[in-house]
């Protein structure tokens, strides 16, 4: 990975290029994982009525890495909550892997969350009384099976995150970046159909944010489907598709082929003139550390 990025470090869409070059490009043509049709979410009624989501149609295929952008209050979190079955739509249909999950009973929804969805939160949301291993194994504990088997699985997974020597740390003993990586491991432990990340780097400095994005990219290239909310345009270059929302609607939905990824990134560079330089520097420092 390091050698490849050596060559490309000063061409722009660095991360996506690296990923694509190294891993087989994920297929997006198979049956959709998520299929939202005419989804509406209204909070309150009469005077207090807020239309948080307004007739959203969205299809996400297996292996996509979708980034959602938009101003605060435009409905991103609401959308993620609906997809994650934490909330129910006011109207519309939601198919997860072809099943009309919006109609499921609460306990069955919980089961779907447990087996098919992984959450990553802005504020990490580890349980502070549990150590790293127990936190990662948490989704498995709500299934049949022996505790130590669950923890074995969590332990194996933590190795791929390079966190094997942090297994018995408590959350407060971790850095922000480590904490979020543990949270990502927890989201991944159940081999979910989709990972929902709501501003996963929102509470991190740029260096840690990049570590997290590297981690998500790795997971993406291993074939996982990711739906991520972000405010940071820097992070778009990691995604395979970018959705812009406004007032509860999707106003643009761009598939980032490598060219588009390039152009999108360029667009942002032209907006923020020093981005190119900053990124270059960051890469360099990072590489020299490795």
């Amino acid at each position: 990975m390091a050698t490849t990025s050596e060559n490309t470090s000063f061409s722009l869409p660095v991360r996506s290029d690296v990923g694509r070059a190294f891993f087989a490009a994920p297929s997006t043509s198979s049956a959709p994982v998520i299929e939202l049709r005419g989804i509406q979410k209204i909070f309150g009624y009469d005077d207090t009525e807020t239309i948080a989501l307004d007739k959203i149609d969205l299809v996400i295929g297996h292996g996509e890495f979708v980034a959602i952008m938009g101003q605060s209050g435009c409905g991103k979190t609401t959308l993620l909550n609906l997809v994650g079955l934490l909330d129910r739509p006011t109207a519309g249909s939601y198919l997860l892997n072809g099943r009309d999950v919006a109609k499921f009973r609460a306990s069955r929804k919980a089961r779907v969350r447990n087996r098919e969805i992984g959450f990553v939160f802005q504020n990490f949301n580890l349980i502070h009384k549990l150590n790293v291993l127990e936190n990662v194994a948490l989704p498995l504990t709500y299934r049949r099976g022996l505790n130590f088997r669950h923890q074995q699985r969590a332990s194996l997974l933590l190795k791929t995150f390079g966190l094997q020597n942090r297994e018995y740390y408590m959350p407060y003993q971790l850095s922000g970046g480590q904490t979020q990586r543990v949270a990502i491991a927890r989201a991944l432990i159940n081999k979910p159909s989709i990972i929902l990340a709501d501003e996963p780097t929102g509470n991190l400095d740029s260096q840690n944010a990049e570590i997290i994005m590297d981690e998500l990219t790795r997971i993406h290239h291993e074939g996982n489907t990711i739906l991520m909310v972000t405010h940071n345009p820097d992070l778009l270059s990691y995604a395979s598709r970018v959705i812009h929302m406004k007032d509860g609607r999707i106003i643009s939905d761009v598939e980032l082929t490598e060219n588009k990824a390039y152009s999108t990134a360029t667009k942002f560079v032209s907006r923020r003139k020093n981005l190119r330089r900053r990124r270059g520097i960051r890469r360099t420092t990072k590489r020299s550390k490795r």
Partner: protein, 406 residues
């Protein structure tokens, strides 16, 4: 069921709040302690009473002064034995002359200090009675013998075996001189241990000294105040006839039937059982209040705990915990708390029961049903009072819960 994890978690969170947990559990500890103690001991008491009714003596009548009571049954409370009395030696003599009466033992109850040299025991019951006493009550002698009819004026004393071994050593007691309320007596007999703290004698024979009525008179400046007259009939079939005759004789002597009460031994045993039931009931009410207070305390602590852990609940729901699983986790916590209290209460009850049983020569009961009740009660308390907080936890909206610290 997610028991192993919940179990660890519950223990962990209880451990993290040790002081709080301990204080809240106190009500349950006290409640279970009382209930278990009653079971542990009353098992013994009931056994003792049953034994007494079985062995003794459906051919025995007891006569006691009735005092103010209207039913007369209160006269037979073990607490009332030594009360002021209207019965006299004349009554005893009159009763002994009734047909089918085999033996009569009048009993005069005296308190006071018994000394053997330096050793002195206060508040020892001394009973002044006649030569018939051992045969009426079916007592066996460990050594020596009871004073004979013609020995009533000798300074003789007979001791219960436990009193004897406390005062002197048992094997050296015979022939020793002891001092009862300032007068010297020679020990001429020791009664074999009966292990019946509650008996028809109205005293714990094992811890009592016996002297003759003539000697007893010396302590009461000549007034004979008989506390109880024990009557043994020739046969149990004649008991009710004899009872009628006894009542007639006493009415003749006293002109007023409310001054005394006559009961068959069996009735007295059941009266004792009734008295025991009353005490048990009172203790159970106290225990229930204690458990109620303890339960409310636990409910309160659980509510606090749920409020503190809203975000944890949100996380758990997000990763797929069902309502039921959250409910189970919090119920388990409540139940562990109350069960812990139950175990401590049970342990304390056996510790206290052991000491009390030792003191009163009662058997200590170890029975599976005592354990079942002593642990079943706190289990139910935990389930009942833990349910509402647990339901509150289970009904948390994960979105709201996760927003809490945003």
């Amino acid at each position: 069921m997610i028991l192993p994890v919940s179990f660890n978690l519950a223990l962990g969170s209880l451990h993290a709040h040790r002081t709080r947990t301990l204080l809240t559990t106190l009500g349950v500890v006290i409640g279970v302690f009382i209930i278990a103690l009653i079971l542990v001991l009353s098992g013994g008491l009931h056994a003792s009473i049953a034994q007494q009714t079985a062995n003794l003596d459906d051919d025995i009548l007891l006569i006691r002064s009735a005092g103010d009571s209207t039913t007369g049954m209160e006269a037979f409370s073990p607490l009332r034995v030594a009360n002021a009395t209207v019965l006299t030696e004349r009554d005893a003599t009159a009763v002994s002359e009734i047909t089918d009466v085999k033996d009569v033992a009048p009993m005069m109850f005296l308190g006071g200090t018994i000394k053997n040299g330096e050793r002195a025991y206060d508040n020892i019951t001394t009973v002044a009675t006649n030569y018939s006493f051992p045969s009426v009550l079916g007592l066996e002698m460990a050594s020596g013998s009871w004073f004979a009819e013609n020995e009533a004026n000798r300074q003789y004393a007979i001791l219960g075996e436990k009193l004897a071994s406390a005062l002197i050593e048992t094997n050296r007691a015979m022939g020793q001189t002891i001092n009862i309320k300032g007068q010297d007596f020679t020990v001429v007999g020791i009664i074999k241990t009966t292990n019946q703290p509650i008996s028809l004698a109205g005293v714990d024979v094992d811890k009592t000294a016996f002297i003759s009525l003539a000697n007893g008179l010396k302590f009461t400046s000549g007034t004979i105040a008989i506390g109880q007259i024990v009557v043994r009939t020739t046969d149990r079939d004649v008991l009710s006839d004899v009872k009628k005759d006894v009542v007639a004789v006493l009415q003749h002597n006293h002109l007023d039937d409310s001054e005394f009460a006559v009961r068959a031994a069996g009735e007295v045993a059941s009266a004792t059982a009734g008295w025991l039931a009353t005490i048990t009931l009172a203790a159970l009410i106290f225990a229930s209040i204690s458990l109620l207070v303890g339960g409310i305390g636990i409910m309160n602590i659980m509510l606090v705990s749920v409020a503190e852990r809203v975000r944890e609940i949100g996380i758990r729901k997000a990763v797929g915990a069902t309502k039921r699983q959250i409910l189970e986790q919090f119920l388990l916590e409540a139940v562990l708390m109350t069960l812990g209290g139950g175990v401590i209460g049970l342990g304390l009850a056996y510790a206290a029961g052991y000491l009390i049983a030792l003191q009163f020569s009662l058997p200590l009961v170890f029975d599976w049903w005592i354990f079942a009740i002593a642990l079943g009660v706190p289990l139910s308390v935990g389930l009942i009072f833990g349910l509402w907080p647990a339901a509150r936890a289970a009904n948390q909206d994960p979105i709201v819960a996760l927003k809490q610290y945003h």
